[in-house]
């Protein structure tokens, strides 16, 4: 409890601080400090969970097990890196906007921290109602950020995002109600019937029909938020229109939080009606997401939309691996949830620098990045390796483990389909990356951001590569514990 409360209060307090006029001018720095402090607390929390098992608080409304600790680490680490980069990126963006289109100072950072607060509450909530409130809150904060720019495209993207995710999240509320109902005759009414840890313990005596129905609605609702096909149509628009640091955070932290929501329902369903039923659905939707994303990856001309489809593909891999359900595959899936966050946020952020430098969001305007700016070129190559899952990036390890686990399970057909999708993605991304990185540099390319803005990018790349060679023993233990949570 002593860790949970500060972790949950930091971001909202930071958001309020950003809105104070006297501090608004330094809001960027505040956001970085707050998220970095949250990351430190997340490390403490992970150590606590490793040492003494789940940490509970607030009468079981909050509870951090290994899975929550893992998601908290992802959210805070990426949020800190993106806030740090945002300190350099957002002033450059603001300088290009017309005077009347600029937001008042501090408001962007306040909403950014509100989004972080929602994600952290979602990761640490044990009560499924609270989980729902947190994810909906994060959706609302991010919807305003998606509509940050005053251009027609951003308005369209924000509208679609808000409306589609509101419907999705309404279905997730129905899922919560149904699960609560399935428990009322066991637990009586009261908040205990919504506590996940309680529900999982009594899962055997829940009414299987309603648990199944609840899982279906959760799959549609939280699946839509995580970007599972076919509920993904909002995602490329939202990611391509949101400011770069926000898109990077949404495609990693918000994805992880929403997916955890779905996995909580999965764990209860598996404990109630057996593993096969919900696993089969996760595997099918995972592979479907991978297959749906691949053709769009091949023909995409705009960098952020490319990353959005890559995000759908990675969500697919994750869901597929966790659905397969063998300890090896789930380990691979959760490791992928962790390391793909570094690759994807790095890809978004370095793309932000290059897009500003080349004055275009289209990849055909980006040739010869390596020659024009060796630092950005190297970072872009690193991000590319991470996205396709090649060594030395850690995503190679996680995808390898996921597939190895899948081939050793009854889901071999799905594993073959996943490999086919991965090969096509590999070909497509290699083609795009070759065109961007190599070739003659564009004469007018200049990196508009100060050189200090490269520091968070190098940090992300270092984490991505380091984890590919060396998995620290505590992280490995944490992943093992998280696998136990899901099985």
């Amino acid at each position: 409890m002593l860790v949970l409360l500060p972790l949950l209060l930091l971001a909202p307090l930071g958001a309020i601080a950003c809105l104070v006029p006297a501090l608004a001018a330094r809001a960027g720095r505040i956001a970085t400090m707050v998220t970095a402090a949250a990351f430190a607390l997340a490390l403490v929390l992970a150590a606590r969970v490793l040492a003494g098992g789940p940490v509970a608080g607030a009468n079981l409304w909050l509870r951090a097990d290994a899975l929550s600790a893992l998601v908290t680490l992802v959210v805070t680490a990426i949020a800190a890196a993106c806030a740090w980069y945002g300190e350099y990126y957002m002033p450059v963006v603001l300088a290009r906007e017309r005077e009347q289109d600029r937001w008042p100072a501090g408001r962007y950072e306040a909403l950014y921290l509100a989004l972080v607060a929602g994600m952290l509450l979602g990761a640490l909530a044990n009560n499924l109602g609270l989980l729902w409130i947190a994810i909906e809150g994060a959706t609302l904060a991010s919807a305003l950020l998606v509509g940050y720019y005053r251009r027609p495209g951003a308005v369209e993207a924000g509208w679609k995002y808000l409306l589609l995710c509101s419907v999705g999240i309404a279905l997730a509320l129905l899922a919560t109600v149904l699960l609560y109902y399935s428990a009322v005759h066991v637990l009586g009414d009261g908040s205990r019937g919504l506590h996940w840890s309680v529900l999982r313990d009594v899962a055997g005596s829940l009414d299987p029909r309603f648990v199944k129905l609840a899982f279906l609605f959760a799959l549609a609702g939280y699946g839509a938020k995580a970007g599972l096909a076919p509920m993904h149509s909002w995602l490329p628009d939202a990611y391509s229109q949101a400011p770069t640091p926000v898109a990077a955070l949404m495609s990693t932290g918000l994805l992880a939080t929403s997916l955890t929501g779905l996995l909580r329902f999965h764990a209860v369903t598996a404990a109630c009606v057996g593993h096969e039923w919900s696993s089969g659905l996760l595997v099918s939707f995972g592979v479907l997401s991978m297959l749906v994303a691949t053709p769009f990856l091949l023909v995409q001309g705009e960098y952020k939309r490319l990353l959005a489809y890559s995000s759908i593909e990675h969500t697919g891999i994750l869901t597929f691996a966790i659905g397969v359900g063998t300890p090896l595959a789930v380990f691979g899936g959760l490791l992928h949830l962790f390391v793909q966050s570094f690759a994807k946020s790095l890809a978004f952020l370095v793309g932000g620098s290059i897009a500003r430098g080349a004055a275009s969001r289209r990849m055909d305007q980006w040739s010869g990045v390596l020659e024009a700016s060796p630092a950005l070129g190297t970072l872009l190559v690193g991000a590319g390796l991470g996205l396709v899952g090649l060594p030395p990036a850690a995503t190679f390890l996680s995808e390898w483990l996921s597939l190895a686990g899948a081939f050793a399970s009854p889901h071999r057909g799905a594993a073959v389909a996943a490999v086919v999708a991965l090969v096509i993605v590999f070909a497509g991304l290699t083609f795009h990356w070759g065109r961007m990185v190599l070739g003659r540099a564009r004469p007018r390319f200049t990196d508009l951001l100060p050189a200090a803005s490269h520091a968070p990018l190098w940090a992300l790349l270092a984490a991505l590569v380091l984890l590919g060679f060396w998995l620290p023993a505590p992280l490995r233990a944490l992943l093992d514990r998280a696998v136990e949570v899901l099985s």
Binding site: W132, I133, E136, V167, L173
Partner: protein
């Protein structure tokens, strides 16, 4: 929990009457071409929902359900319709909605949805889940009508009305299945809903600014 209504309240009739008003107001919204009329229908929809929750509270004597019911009446029957109304008036008052279906065709679809909902809910849940069992098919039917309203209209604000009706239907499911969720959860959900509608209203006015009207078919810049 054993549901015992006081003697002076004709129990099944009260709930059935309110459930009927709930479904009919949703259908009335689906039959409207004018957004303002649909918003008024939503207001009655919410009041019927609040009435059902109040009846449950009276019958069970539970204070937290009564509080949740009053909150529903205040937020869903008061604040949200007023927000939507203000938005509709700002966008030019008597907005003509432009459905993909004409009103008669739309009503036929809604009728079919209601029939499907009533027949399938019985099959799934059986009869006699609780004394509020009659509300459950109504809730499923209204969910479907709300979704139909969202996909059959081009007008942005009308899609929002469809969304809030759908949310009402899910609230009704919560009330009729479990006599409502814990109060803290209900309050959080209502707060999120309120902020959500305010944001949707904000986006509707931005769409009207950037695209000239609230017609969502003009939102087609982003592709591929």
């Amino acid at each position: 929990m054993n549901l015992q209504l006081p003697d002076w309240l004709p129990r099944s009739n009260t709930v059935n009457l309110l459930a009927g008003a709930f479904l009919l107001s949703a259908l009335y919204a689906a039959a409207q071409r004018r957004t303002l009329a649909a918003i008024t229908a939503y207001r009655f929809n919410s009041l019927a929902l609040g009435g059902i929750a109040l009846t449950v509270a009276l019958a069970t004597g539970t204070r937290h359900i009564a509080l949740a019911a009053l909150l529903v009446i205040a937020v869903k029957g008061g604040v949200i319709p007023s927000l939507l109304r203000k938005q509709a008036l700002r966008g030019g008052g008597a907005l003509e909605t432009e459905p993909y279906f004409g009103v008669p065709a739309g009503m036929l679809v809604c009728g079919a949805l209601v029939v499907i909902a009533f027949s399938q809910t019985r099959a799934l849940f059986g009869s006699g889940v609780s004394i509020l069992a009659s509300c459950l098919p109504v809730s499923v039917a209204t969910t479907l009508v709300g979704m139909f309203l969202m996909v059959s209209r081009k007008q942005a604000l009308m899609q929002v009305v469809g969304l809030v009706i759908l949310e009402n239907a899910i609230f009704l499911a919560a009330v009729s299945l479990t006599y409502g969720m814990p109060l803290v959860v209900e309050m959080g959900v209502l707060l999120d809903l309120l902020v959500g509608v305010a944001l949707l209203g904000l986006f509707v006015s931005r769409i009207e600014q950037t695209h000239g009207s609230g017609d969502t078919t003009k939102l087609s810049d982003l592709k591929g």
